[in-house]
Symmetry: C2
C-alpha cells in the first residue's frame, strides 16, 4: 500500500469529500487549493493528472474501508448485527447529504480511467463478500433464516443499500433508507 505525506492526505481528504457530495467532475484543483491551502501547481506535484488523483483516492478509500469492515467484524460477533451496523453506517452518510464514494464514481465511470473502474469492481466485490460472510455467520447462529440463498441475498443487500442511498438522498430523507434496510433485515432474520 502506498504512503502519502500530510499534504497529500489532506488533498485526498478534500477530494473525497467533494466526490461524495458533488461528484468527481464537479470539483477542480482550485477547489482543493482553497480547502487545503496549497497552490494548484503543488497539487500537480503529488497527482500529475486528475486521473492519478482519482486512482489514489479510490485506492486509499478501499484500503480504509477494508480495515473498517475488519474492525466491525472483530467488534461484533453476531452476523445479523454486523449487517445492522453496516446499514446504520450508510444512513449516517445520507444524513450528511453524502453518497457512497465508489457509488458516486461508478456513476461517472465513463469519464474515468480503466484502472479506477477495476478498483470500483474490487470495492463492490469486497463489500459483497463481507455481507455474504455475515449472512453465513447469521445462519449458523440461527438469527438468519437458513432458507435464504446467501449469494443472492448478499448482492441484493448491497444493491438495496446503494439504490436506497441514491433515492433517500434525493428526497433528503435518511429515514427512507433506514426503513428500507430495516425491512430487508427483518426479511432475513429468523
Amino acid at each position: 500500500m502506498k504512503e502519502f505525506n500530510d499534504t497529500a492526505n489532506q488533498l485526498l481528504d478534500a477530494a473525497e469529500r467533494y466526490t461524495q457530495m458533488h461528484g468527481f467532475n464537479a470539483f477542480s484543483y482550485k477547489d482543493l487549493q482553497e480547502q487545503v491551502g496549497v497552490k494548484t501547481s503543488s497539487i500537480h506535484y503529488y497527482f500529475p493528472t486528475k486521473q492519478d488523483l482519482a486512482l489514489s483516492m479510490t485506492e486509499r478509500y478501499i484500503e480504509r474501508f477494508r480495515v473498517n469492515l475488519q474492525a466491525i467484524a472483530q467488534e461484533q460477533s453476531g452476523g445479523l448485527k454486523r449487517l445492522e451496523y453496516l446499514a446504520k453506517l450508510y444512513v449516517d452518510v445520507v444524513s450528511k447529504q453524502k453518497f457512497c464514494m465508489c457509488g458516486m464514481l461508478a456513476s461517472d465511470m465513463l469519464s474515468l480511467s480503466n484502472a479506477v473502474t477495476v478498483k470500483l469492481c474490487e470495492f463492490f466485490q469486497l463489500l459483497e463478500d463481507w455481507i455474504a460472510e455475515a449472512i453465513e455467520l447469521g445462519k449458523k447462529q440461527k438469527t438468519i433464516k437458513t432458507s435464504v440463498n446467501t449469494t443472492w441475498a448478499a448482492s441484493s443487500f448491497l444493491a438495496v443499500l446503494e439504490g436506497g442511498m441514491l433515492i433517500a438522498r434525493t428526497q433528503n430523507r435518511p429515514d427512507y433508507l433506514e426503513n428500507i434496510m430495516q425491512g430487508t433485515l427483518d426479511e432475513l432474520s429468523v
Copy 2:
C-alpha cells in the same frame, strides 16, 4: 405538458443520451452542437441556461415514462409479469452501457436547481407507486405472496433496481442485474 419543435426535441434527445451515459455535467453545448448540427448559440435560444435544459429534459423524460408505464399496465394484466417486464427494461438499459436518467441526475443533484430535484422525487414516487400497484394486483391474482408488506416491497424493489444497475454497469455485466432481479421476483412470487 410543454411542446417542443423538431430541433428542440433532437437537442433533448442528445442531452438525454449524454446524461444516461456520462452524466449531466459531462457534456457541453458544443457536444450537442456536434450531435444535432445546430450552433451553440441556437441551443441557448431554446434553453437559455443549462439548468433550463436540465428541467425540460427531466420533465419530458418523466412524461414519456408515465406513458410507458401505463402502456405496460394495459398490455400486461398480470401483476408479477409487470414487474418482470420492468426489470427486463432496465437490464436492457445496462446492456447499452447506460443508467436510469433520473438516477444519474440524482447523483449530480447538488449541482442542479431545486426545480429539477423536485421532479426527481416525483419520478421515484411515480415508479414506486406503479410497483406497489403491481404488487397489490399480484396478491389478488395469487401470484404474489399476500404476506409481503407492499409499501416496503415496492420501495425495496425500486432500490434494488437502481443500485443493481449501478453495480452491474460498473462491472459491465447486465446479467448481474438480471440475476438480482430474478431472485427478487422469486422472493415475491407464491
